[in-house]
Symmetry: C2
Subunit: 335 residues, 2 copies
């Protein structure tokens, strides 16, 4: 078991990691652009709309960093990193259809511009390209890890669908959902970095565990940010989860800690198709009253600690330091 350390306020940044992987990431980005190419014009249009809209590319960075941590000197990490980003992009395109989202990364969701059909099919195309690139790298163990991840991600999303609007969802149920829909791809992205260089099993497992726990922490912080962070600051994009009736950990904690009247409020609000600003205000007040945002961040710190500890068996190196700082950064976003 990892020890939960109190979070020490400092100013962690993702920039150290970004700087270390910069050269390789330029090649990954070039590959991503070239592999969205198709004679069918709508495919690069839809794919580029999302891909060029400035995601952080955190997942491919993890593959590059874990390959570096494993002293890998070949070329396979570039294609695997691009595969990981394509799997992520395909998931986003399909998620928009599933969630009926209107916006994604501050732009109109692809489905609003080109329709649900295009989002589904271009997602399928990108998934196919992801597998093609993995096949080109030609290491069956990496193909196994990433194809298993594809199944697990879909399972996590279906679990979320089944749990939607269900206030009875337990913290354990919710953890199973985010392990699948978010953390599994982080885990696979890190693991293939170590597998590429045929590192000892313990190191592969360590990278996987780092990614899995970072992914859980990352999602929990995202859940908190959807209610404005620990300070519950109002701003744009606040309350999307609430309006979609998504059951996230802050809601699960506040629901369990609330009285009958409060539970009735949560049930009603999350099951409605339309929610009001007043309801969102009340939800945030209840989240604060029951320390649900602060405690979700404490849970995130717990997984962050496990992620850091997973890297303990690697000797000191700039890339290890950068990965540890990335964990601190992921969590600091919520404060």
């Amino acid at each position: 078991m990892a020890v939960v350390l109190p979070f020490e306020p400092k100013d962690p940044s993702i920039e150290t990691l970004v700087r270390l992987v910069k050269g390789d990431m330029e090649r990954v980005n070039a590959l991503i652009l070239s592999r969205t190419g198709s004679d069918v014009a709508m495919i690069p249009e839809v794919a580029t709309h999302l891909i060029s809209s400035g995601g952080k590319r955190l997942r491919p960075m993890l593959t590059i960093a874990c390959a570096a941590l494993s002293d890998y000197e070949g070329e396979g990490h570039i294609k695997l990193a691009a595969s990981v980003e394509f799997m992520h992009t395909a998931t986003l395109l399909h998620d928009d259809v599933v969630d009926e989202s209107d916006m994604r990364r501050g732009k109109l969701a692809a489905r609003k511009v080109w329709g649900n059909e295009a989002s589904v099919l271009v997602g399928d195309f990108l998934l196919g390209q992801a597998f093609k690139m993995m096949v080109e790298v030609g290491i069956l163990e990496c193909l196994d890890i990433l194809s298993t991840a594809a199944c697990t991600i879909a399972e996590g999303e279906v679990m979320q669908l089944a749990a939607a609007k269900n206030t009875e969802t337990s913290e354990d149920d919710y953890l199973a959902v985010i392990r699948g829909k978010t953390a599994e791809l982080f885990a696979a992205a890190c693991e293939v970095g170590a597998v590429l260089n045929h590192r000892p099993k313990a190191e592969q497992t360590a990278c996987r565990s780092f990614g899995m726990n970072l992914g859980i922490a990352f999602q929990l912080v995202d859940d908190v940010l959807d209610y404005g962070g620990s300070q519950a600051k109002l701003g744009k994009n606040i309350g999307d989860d609430f309006r979609e009736g998504k059951i996230t950990l802050p809601v699960i904690l506040a629901f369990r800690r609330g009285d009958a009247q409060e539970r009735a409020f949560w049930k009603e609000a999350l099951e409605q198709s339309e929610t009001s600003d007043e309801q969102l205000q009340k939800a945030i007040a209840l989240l604060i009253k029951h320390r649900a945002l602060a405690d979700t961040l404490e849970r995130a710190q717990h997984y962050g600690a496990m992620a850091r500890d997973a890297l303990a068996l690697f000797g000191p190196s700039p890339v290890k330091d950068a990965l540890v700082e990335a964990v601190d950064f992921a969590i600091s976003r919520g404060y």
Copy 2:
């Protein structure tokens, strides 16, 4: 170039092929059922709804038959055949969302029972399982063929989307669409059967060509059947393509051969969101007037002849005879 032979009426049947592959197909079917399993209950529910609704399983039969044609004696063909069927099932689930279909194989489409979300996500799960099974077989060349097919299928579907309701679509455009959306998976299903046993490149190419041309013929006959076959017999499920505004070869031929007034009719009817029975009757009359159904079947015969000729370099065997008869059967459905 293949020579187009006049179609000789006899009574070809798929039963010879079915009988020859029966033992292996029982194992494929058992594998398909076991691989739809998941702790997430909705996944087997949705998958089984479609998988158990009695598709012909033509594609996996082709993999099994081409493995037999190539004297393969290993076990890999079972998993590859199941992968091919999962890819097909995933495509059907996603197609229903794209086409907003209400029915599939005489049952309510999965999206009408469980929603678009479930159809998208369970399709993704099955695609992931398909790749997992290919990885277990562990032959990179097969993974390459099938992941390339996944991309090409998506490209074909997007092309169809872009061509929807566009009466300017040419016969060549349309052939590109059906090569992608239908024939590519037939081609890949056959090719991997030969690749499994590391047969000479010429035999692999022959199997691929057989599948590709059979797939084109199969789709053209389906297009004719959607208007009731060469006799234009009215029955259930007649006119679905017409109502969805799908541009298929019969329409392309009738449109080009028609006068200005007829073209105006096609334009109006195919661009409408609702069509009447009277419009369908008129469409069928125009298809007959211009021999569009009969000539589409002649085109199908052309591709059928190429499929048969592709198998010429294999010596005589029961499985070769059964594959040739399957081509005849595919075409005879349209008469």
